[in-house]
């Protein structure tokens, strides 16, 4: 028996370890090479660095205008996600509690919109909000946030919709008897109960908004409003194949979200899992 147990355990462990090496190797490469000079990188990309010099990071932080870019990305992501959560929860709750043909039709329209590829919207977007309304020149960040709220709302309403159905109606009825208006009942009773779902929805939205490239590249034309992916694109164009600058820049760009993952990985994996089941 012990022999058999042993072999079945190694049957799982060996492929797991192999997959682990394959999945983490790019991160290893990124970290070790971010401390090397161009010569060292070309000579031996897999070797550990000969010395740990943080000077190159400081150089890259300055060249990327890192603090401003980080702030832009942070503001755009957090404001968008905040309003996605608030508005989607309000709408999903209303749709579940007040079914009507109009409500069902609106919900069906939102769900159906999820298969629209962004590419079939982007040209009219640029035309309407850029050429006609000039928002791309005058208010790029508010425009981008408004668009993210719109793009994020379909999936978020869908997930909230599934969850609201599981909340007992009696709780809300009790609050009405106690004298709450529908709005008070929503903000005092329902919204706090939606918290676990809100975490899930926040995670799903943060992941794509933080990393999005195509939409911001069309809307954010001026340098002072760049987000991190846009800045990285420009940086890559400027320092083509200059790996001693590019690699620390790549690492710095992905670092904020990796650090967030380090602290919240349990939540994040659970959140994605719950979002997927719905």
């Amino acid at each position: 028996m012990p022999v058999r147990k042993m072999s079945s355990a190694s049957l799982t462990l060996l492929p797991l370890l192999a997959a682990f090496v394959l999945f983490t190797f790019p991160f290893f490469l990124l970290i070790v090479n971010s401390f090397k000079s161009n010569g060292e990188i070309l000579e031996s990309p897999f070797a550990l660095p000969q010395s740990v010099d943080l000077g190159r990071f400081a150089d890259v932080v300055a060249k990327m205008n890192f603090l401003v870019t980080f702030k832009n990305t942070f503001v755009i992501t957090s404001v968008s996600v905040f309003f996605i959560l608030l508005f989607s929860a309000m709408t999903a709750h209303y749709l579940v509690r007040n079914p009507s043909r109009f409500a069902n039709g609106f919900f069906a329209l939102m769900v159906a919109s999820m298969i629209i590829p962004f590419q079939s919207i982007m040209i009219p977007l640029v035309y309407i909000y850029g050429a006609k309304l000039h928002l791309i020149d005058t208010a790029p960040i508010p425009l981008l946030i408004a668009l993210y709220i719109g793009f994020g709302s379909a999936l978020s309403v869908f997930i909230y919709h599934g969850f609201v159905k599981s909340i007992p109606l009696e709780l809300e009825e009790a609050s009405f008897i106690d004298g709450c208006t529908p709005r008070q009942s929503f903000f005092k009773i329902v919204l706090p109960m939606l918290m676990p779902t809100s975490v899930t929805i926040a995670i799903l939205n943060v992941l794509w908004i933080w990393n999005d490239y195509l939409l911001p590249s069309l809307v954010l034309v001026k340098e002072e409003v760049y987000t991190m992916p846009i800045k990285m694109k420009v940086f890559n164009g400027t320092y083509m194949n200059n790996w001693e600058l590019l690699i620390p820049a790549i690492l710095l760009t992905i670092l904020p979200i990796l650090i967030a993952y380090l602290f919240g990985q349990r939540f994040i994996i659970k959140g994605v899992m719950q979002g997927a089941i719905k």
Binding site: P45, F46, T91, I116, I247, R266
Partner: protein, 293 residues
Amino acid sequence: MTGKSRIHRLANQAFFMGPTALFFATAILIPFAYGFYLTLTSITSPVSPVEFAGFANYAKAFQDKQFWDSMWLTLKYVGGTIAFVNAIGFALAFLVTSGMRGQNFFRTAFFTPNLIGGLMLGYIWQFIFVQSLPSVGEKLGIEALRLGWLGDEALAFWALVIVTIWKSAGYMMIIFIAGLIAVPRDVIEASTIDGAGPWRRLTRITLPLMVPAFVVTVFLTLKDAFMVYDLNYSLTEGGPYGSTKMVSMHVVQKAFVETNYGLGQSEAILLFVIVAVVTGLQVYFSKKWEVQA
């Protein structure tokens, strides 16, 4: 119903649904509808006059060989990523639910690539394909690695597929884990008592019960693959010689680089129709496969 309560109801409806409806219309409905209108005009750039042109753009789109080449390439990419991402995602899920210690550690590691945006993925793997693998190939004398993959027309396509697997397999793994956990233990035990071996249990019990999870993962891989842009742009920029230019990149170039809004938009609408038909068929047929436990 009295007039006053009717007004109350409308006010509540506007309060709860208004913001979402407004932003949803701003970002999706209005541009989508306006997009159809643009395809019927001869507009080429934001400042050019809008003249009605009927279906001329669609006729041109059907004759645009580059568009159909990029569509065909995208379909190949869709097929390749669906097969590999789902197979590897399922295998990973199977391994990390076997009940051994440290499962959560592995789950965390396999999911990590999903934190990185498509653009950054492209840059990271550019370093691997351009700089790291050739140097290994050089030292060990492995010809396949010594070639720069991104400079070769066939290999560059597979480079894209590999990076997509690296990114997406961990996400699909998470969905499959949810599906695997939901497979009732008593069904598995009953089949074991009836004498089913591990392989039979997997193919006859677990996989059929996992169809709902596969409906979701195939849908997600399909949608992501049809819309791939960021990764394509940063890893290969469509090269070498346009051999990896996916349909999304073609549309972006048609509209914004070659400034042909009407034609680009018509091709984008064709893309929408193809995605809608393919995802519709996929969900319809895979729902038929579902079995009740």
